[in-house]
C-alpha cells in the first residue's frame, strides 16, 4: 500500500491541480499587470511632465492648454454622483431584498430576481441613450436648466447599481439564520419588528458590502453618466447643475490626445486615481468584513 501507484493516477491529480492553480495565478498576474501598467503610465505626469500631484488633487483649474491640470472638479463630480446614486438606490435595494426574502419570496423569486437580472443586462450605452432621450428632457421641463445635470447622472446610475446592491443585500439577508427570525416571532413581534430589529442588524455587514460595491460600480461607470451629466468643468451648485466626472473626461479626451504629452499623461493619472479609488473601496469592504467577523 505504500509507494506504488499507477502513473495515470498521479498524472490526473497533478495535471489538474497544476492547471487550476495556474488559473488562479493568471488572475493575480493580470491584476498586477493592470496595476503596473496604469500606475506606470499614470505616474508619468508627475515624473516626466512635471505636474504636481498636490495641484492635481486640490485644484479646480483644469485647462490643459495653459498647463493647468487640477482634477478636483472631476473627483468631486464622481464622488457626488456616486454617493447620490447610492443614496437613492440603497434604500430601494434593501427594501427589494427584504421583499424578496420575507414578504413574498415567491413573487421575489419568480418576478423580482429576473427583473433585477434584466436590469443588469441592459447595456450601459442603452441606459445612456434612454437617459438622453427621456430623462434629460423630462428634467429640463420639470426643473428648468438644460436637463444635463448631476441629478440626471444620479438617476441613471441609481438604476444601474440597483441590482448590485439588491442582490448582495438579499444574499446577506438570506444568510441570517432563520432561527433568529423564529426567536423574534416567538416573542410576539410583528414581521416589521423582526426585520428592523433583528434581521437587518444581523445582516448589516453584507448589506454594507453591497452598498460599497454599488458605490464602486457607480464610480467607475463611464458612458451612461458621461452622456447625461453635461461635462461642464465646474463644481455643481445644485442638483440641477451639470458637472463632470473622472470617467467622463477620460472618455472625452483620451482618444484625442497624444501619447507622451502632458495632457495625455494627466489623463492617465486620472485613470490611476480611478484605480486607486476602486482599490480603496475594496479595502473598505474588507475592513467591514473583518470587523464583522470579530464579534
Amino acid at each position: 500500500m505504500k509507494g506504488h501507484k499507477s502513473i495515470n493516477y498521479w498524472k490526473s491529480e497533478y495535471i489538474g491541480r497544476t492547471l487550476v492553480t495556474l488559473c488562479g495565478i493568471v488572475i493575480v498576474l493580470t491584476t498586477l499587470a493592470i496595476i503596473a501598467f496604469i500606475a506606470g503610465k499614470g505616474i508619468q505626469s508627475f515624473t516626466v511632465s512635471g505636474i504636481s500631484l498636490w495641484e492635481m488633487i486640490t485644484s479646480t483649474n483644469w485647462s490643459p492648454n495653459d498647463g493647468h491640470y487640477g482634477a478636483l472638479i472631476f473627483i468631486a463630480g464622481s464622488t457626488l454622483v456616486s454617493i447620490g446614486a447610492v443614496l437613492v438606490s440603497a434604500p430601494i435595494a434593501i427594501a427589494l431584498a427584504i421583499f424578496m426574502n420575507y414578504i413574498s419570496p415567491k413573487f421575489g423569486e419568480k418576478v423580482l430576481r429576473p427583473v433585477l437580472e434584466l436590469l443588469v443586462g441592459i447595456p450601459s450605452v442603452v441606459y445612456g441613450l434612454l437617459g438622453v432621450s427621456i430623462l434629460v428632457p423630462f428634467l429640463r421641463d420639470s426643473f428648468g436648466g438644460v436637463g444635463f445635470s448631476l441629478m440626471a447622472g444620479i438617476i441613471v446610475l441609481s438604476i444601474m447599481i440597483l441590482p448590485t446592491i439588491a442582490t448582495l443585500a438579499s444574499d446577506a439577508l438570506r444568510g441570517v439564520p432563520p432561527q433568529l427570525l423564529e426567536a423574534s416571532y416567538g416573542l410576539g413581534s410583528t414581521r416589521w419588528q423582526a426585520i428592523s430589529r433583528v434581521v437587518i442588524p444581523a445582516a448589516k455587514k453584507g448589506v454594507m458590502t453591497g452598498i460599497v460595491l454599488g458605490l464602486a460600480r457607480a464610480f467607475g461607470e463611464a458612458l451612461a453618466v458621461q452622456m447625461v451629466i453635461g461635462n461642464t468643468i465646474k463644481l455643481p451648485e445644485a442638483l440641477t447643475s451639470p458637472t463632470a466626472t473622472l470617467t467622463g473626461v477620460l472618455t472625452m479626451d483620451m482618444s484625442n490626445t497624444l501619447n507622451g504629452t502632458a495632457w495625455n499623461n494627466a489623463l492617465w493619472s486620472l485613470a490611476l486615481i480611478l484605480l486607486v479609488i476602486s482599490f480603496l473601496f475594496i479595502l473598505i469592504i474588507r475592513f467591514i468584513g473583518n470587523r464583522g467577523g470579530e464579534k
Partner: protein
C-alpha cells in the same frame, strides 16, 4: 402607533417598492422596444451599415457581437472555471489565498474604462496588433473573469460535502472527485452564471471602444483566414452592436442615425432577454436531469 399598524404600513411600502421596480423595468423595456419598433426587419438585421446613406443595417455588428462573445467565452470560461475550482477545492486558507481574493475583488471593481485603457496599452499598442477582436475579447475577459470565478466557486461549494466525501472515501483522488462528481453537479449553476455573463459581454461598450475598434472591414468569407476581411480572423477590428450604438449616438452622420441606434438598442435588449430566458431554461432542465424530482424537495426543506 400600534405595532400591527406599523407592520401593515411597512408591508405596504415594500409592496409599492417592489411593484415600482417591476413597472420601471417594464417602462424601460417598453420605451426601448417602442423606439426601436421594426427592429426585426431582416434587411436591417443582416444588412451592412452605411456611414453616409440612410437604410443601413447591423449585420456585421451582430455577427461581431456573437463572434466576440464566443471568443471571449472560449478564453474566459476555462480560466474562470479553473480559478473557481482552485479557490473551492485546492486553495489553502492563508496569505496567498487572501491575496488572490484581493486580486479578484480588485479586478471585479475595475471600471471598464480603465480596463479598456489597459487593453489599449497592452493589446493594441504594445503587441502591435492594433484594434482586434482578440484584444477586445481579452479586455472583456478581464471584466468577466472575477464573476465567472466566483460563480464557479460558489457552485462548487454548493455541491453537498457529503457527496464529495463519499467519493474521496472510496479512494478517489481530489481531481477524480472534481471531474466525476463535483463538476457535473455544479454544472447547472455554472452554466446559468455563464449565460448571464454572456448577456453582459453582449452589452459591453466602454472597454471595446479602445480595444476592438469602431469599424469593421468589408467582410469576405472567402478570404484567407489571416486576411482582415475574413469574418473569422480574430486579428481584425470589429465594431460590436453596443459600440455601434455608442458611435451612432456620438458620431453618426447617417440621416437615420437615431433610428438605427434605437433599433439596435431594441435588438440588444431582446438578446439580453433571450440570454436570461435561456439561462433559466437551462438551469431548470439540467437541475431535473441531474437531480431528479427529489432534488427539488430537498431544497425546499433546506430553505425552511
Amino acid at each position: 402607533m400600534n405595532s400591527r399598524t406599523v407592520n401593515k404600513i411597512w408591508t405596504g411600502i415594500f409592496y409599492i417598492v417592489a411593484i415600482f421596480i417591476v413597472l420601471l423595468l417594464g417602462f424601460l423595456v417598453f420605451e426601448i422596444l417602442k423606439r426601436g419598433w421594426g427592429f426585426w426587419d431582416l434587411s436591417f438585421l443582416t444588412g451592412k451599415s452605411s456611414n453616409v446613406e440612410a437604410g443601413g443595417g447591423i449585420g456585421y455588428q451582430l455577427w461581431n457581437s456573437f463572434y466576440m462573445l464566443i471568443i471571449t467565452l472560449i478564453i474566459s470560461v476555462p480560466l474562470g472555471l479553473g480559478a473557481g475550482i482552485y479557490l473551492a477545492e485546492y486553495a489553502k486558507p492563508g496569505k496567498l489565498l487572501n491575496f488572490i481574493r484581493l486580486c479578484i475583488d480588485t479586478m471585479a471593481s475595475l471600471p471598464s474604462i480603465v480596463v479598456g485603457l489597459f487593453g489599449l496599452l497592452v493589446f493594441v499598442t504594445a503587441t502591435g496588433w492594433g484594434y482586434t477582436i482578440i484584444g477586445g475579447a481579452l479586455a472583456i475577459t478581464i471584466l468577466n473573469l472575477p464573476s465567472l470565478a466566483r460563480v464557479s466557486e460558489s457552485a462548487i461549494l454548493d455541491v453537498p460535502g457529503s457527496v464529495k466525501e463519499a467519493s474521496l472515501g472510496l479512494g478517489a483522488t481530489r481531481w477524480q472527485t472534481i471531474v466525476k462528481i463535483t463538476l457535473p453537479s455544479a454544472m447547472p449553476q455554472i452554466i446559468t452564471g455563464v449565460i448571464l455573463a454572456a448577456g453582459r459581454i453582449f452589452g459591453e461598450a466602454a472597454a471595446l471602444i479602445y480595444t476592438a475598434g469602431l469599424m469593421t472591414p468589408i467582410l469576405n468569407p472567402a478570404a484567407d483566414l489571416s486576411n482582415p476581411v475574413n469574418p473569422f480572423n480574430i486579428f481584425r477590428p470589429a465594431e460590436t452592436l453596443a459600440v455601434h450604438i455608442w458611435k451612432l449616438n456620438s458620431e453618426g452622420i447617417v440621416p437615420d442615425a437615431q433610428a438605427i441606434a434605437t433599433k439596435s438598442a431594441a435588438v440588444l435588449i431582446i438578446m439580453v432577454l433571450i440570454f436570461n430566458l435561456l439561462a433559466r431554461l437551462f438551469s431548470t432542465l439540467l437541475q431535473k436531469h441531474f437531480e431528479g424530482s427529489k432534488g427539488k424537495k430537498k431544497k425546499t426543506q433546506a430553505a425552511a
